[in-house]
Amino acid sequence: MNFGFNDEQQEIKATAKSFAQSRFKPDVVRKQVESEPGGFDEAVWKELSELGWAGIAVSEEHGGQGLGMVELVILCEELGYAVAPTPFLANACAGLALEWAGSDEQKAAHLGGIATGEARGAVGSPDVFLDAEGAAVPIVFDEDGARILDPNSVTFDKLDLIDETRGYSEPSSVDGEALTGDLDAASGRMSVAVAAELTGIAQRAMDMAVEYAKERHQFERPIGAYQAVSHRCADMLYAVEEARSLTYYAAWAADEEPDSLALAASMAKARAADAAWEVAKSSIQVHGGIGFTWEHDLHFLLKRARASGQLFGSSSAHRERVAGLIGMAA
């Protein structure tokens, strides 16, 4: 038993961290949002793809790295930490959808482009798609199942959401070619990927709060010396660590113990969504007025936390699912 990363995973984490923090510096994210809200830098996407990350969880036979959810989760967490404007999550989720629910033909047709990042995938619901603009393989999930939309016949109308670090849009049609495989296996993994992004967001919001609490002085003390602030930060820590434990476990379960995935994924998604939202709010409170200003980066985290938290099911929907899976009689 070793609930830690192996050497290869640690290397991925280190690379991902330095990449995310150099390519998505706060001022870069801000410039992106203020110049082209919802957009992203194609060059950086190309660079990221060349590292093999676009296809990190895509099987080797389809041109991916053939690594697992644990490795994918590492990338999602670091990119979430940076609130990176990048279609990475949308593309990765499309890859998971095809990998686990697609037919051999569908995999053969689409996974290659997703793995190289040259023919991006995207996922969404009839209301909201993630980074679908310019995507070659948009996949819609709804109560009738999942379908690959034809990018040439579907248009995506941009949605102006409060989260401007990512592109949101509404599809003009949701007709397409059905995915006939195991949709739960796909959507469970998609939820875990989002949970990882949310964990990264929560971690970042906490780090900012702690740092500020050390520097900021009021009444001749650093505010972090007041229990109203320090205990608030301690509460943030449990939230972050609980989200992380459940997310890593769910990722591991997806790779090694698929029977546990459904429960693990819902626990992870619900906890991480709540953690990101609660910690982001709490971090604003620690910052006081400055945390409420546009010029401070916290609101990017707050808004992304809110938007990602609603992807693939609300927290209460996932808790409801958990209850059923642990034996509460319907």
Partner: protein, 379 residues
């Protein structure tokens, strides 16, 4: 105990209600802020012409000299009628009262009437980047010069800073005196070089507030309020005014929102959701408790003449109810509430400041612990 209005009180309420019904200018215009502001200015003039702008002011200063209870009724009715707020709100609730309390005759002569008429708008220059909760640590400095003072420093969270004629400015006039002692309260003319006003954009994307930079701005001696070195005392009394009597009208506002939320829930066929029913009931109970608490402390104040610290309690309750309500509404709306044009989405983001502006929740709890419960201050 009698929670019904007396005949006189009822007559007053009806008078207010009728007048508001007849003169309600309707919702504020969309579009740019200056249009909104002119709309509020016109509205305040309308109020003033009917003698309502200074409802809480003594008659001698052009006010209506309404009793505490009448003021509460008036504010509650305003919220109930959903009329706009008067343009010169800070002048009315802070500027005027401070001039009346601490100003000399010529200052009263000079400043009061234009506040009521909204001819001269007032803004507040208290907070600084380094002094949010800790007012006594203000660094903006006022240096004595021939005939007045020269002010240099930065203020922040200055509502209407870009429109205001006068700024209630607290600055350090004596760096040798102990923290609280070295401050002086000035009425500073905003229309001069040496003052730069920059909009401060919030997480909602709009700019309600400003940063104000003073670079050797001049304030004549006759604009010192309450005497040199008394700034702390003068400022504190002003802050009290800010919170007093908030409860009643705040509760009416929450009640309006709650009704909208219930309507929204019913429209979506979610009225029977047991979880939502528990949450809505809790919000209703909080709102009622806020309004009833305001009435209780009002009765207390009428009886004893002493304003209690209930303002702090009400501020705290109002903030958390508003945050919970807007969050619940956005959960119900789902992704739709994430749209930048969503009213509830905006309210949800804006509500994050409720636990910070006008005294953070932490500071308010300190006040309650120390002044109401008599717990020791942390040294």
């Amino acid at each position: 105990m009698d929670l019904t209005l007396t005949a006189d009180e009822e007559a007053f309420r009806d008078e207010v209600r009728t007048w508001l019904a007849d003169n309600n200018p309707g919702p504020e215009p969309d579009g740019d802020d200056s249009a909104k502001f002119e709309f509020q200015r016109t509205w305040q003039r309308t109020m003033h012409d009917a003698g309502w702008a200074g409802v809480a002011w003594p008659k001698e200063y052009g006010g209506r000299g309404a009793s505490l209870l009448e003021q509460t009724i008036f504010y509650a009715e305003m919220a109930r009628a959903k009329v706009p707020r008067p343009a010169n709100i800070l002048g009315l609730v802070m500027g005027g009262p401070v001039v009346m309390a601490h100003g000399d005759e010529s200052q009263k002569e000079r400043f009061l009437e234009p506040i009521l008429s909204a001819e001269e708008i007032w803004c507040q220059g208290f907070s600084e980047p380094e002094s949010g909760s800790d007012l006594a640590s203000l660094k903006t400095k006022a240096v004595k010069v021939e005939g007045g003072w020269e002010v240099t420093g930065q203020k922040v969270w200055t509502t209407l800073g870009h429109i205001a004629k006068w700024c209630m400015l607290v600055a350090r006039s004596d760096f040798d005196a102990p923290k609280h002692k070295g401050l002086t309260y000035f009425i500073c003319d905003m229309e001069q070089d040496g003052i730069e006003v920059r909009p401060l954009v919030q997480i909602t994307g709009e700019a309600e507030f400003n940063e104000v930079f003073f670079e050797g701005a001049f304030v004549p001696d006759e604009n010192v309020m309450g005497g040199v070195g008394n700034g702390w005392m003068v400022a504190i009394t002003t802050l009290m005014n800010e919170r007093a009597g908030l409860g009643a009208s705040a509760a009416v506002g929450l009640q309006n929102d709650l009704e909208n939320l219930i309507e929204l829930i019913n429209e979506r066929g979610l009225g029977s959701d047991p979880i939502l029913r528990q949450k809505i009931a809790a919000l209703k109970m909080g709102t009622e408790a806020l309004s009833l608490g305001a009435m209780r402390s009002l009765s207390q104040q009428i009886k004893t003449g002493i304003p209690g610290p209930e303002g702090s309690v009400a501020k705290l309750q109002w903030g958390s109810i508003n945050q919970e309500m807007t969050e619940l509404a956005t959960e119900i709306l789902g992704p739709a509430a994430l749209g930048k044009d969503s009213d509830w989405g905006y309210k949800m983001l804006r509500s994050r400041a409720n636990s910070i502006e006008g005294g953070t929740s932490e500071v308010l709890k300190n006040i309650i612990a120390e002044r109401v419960l008599g717990l020791p201050k942390l040294r």
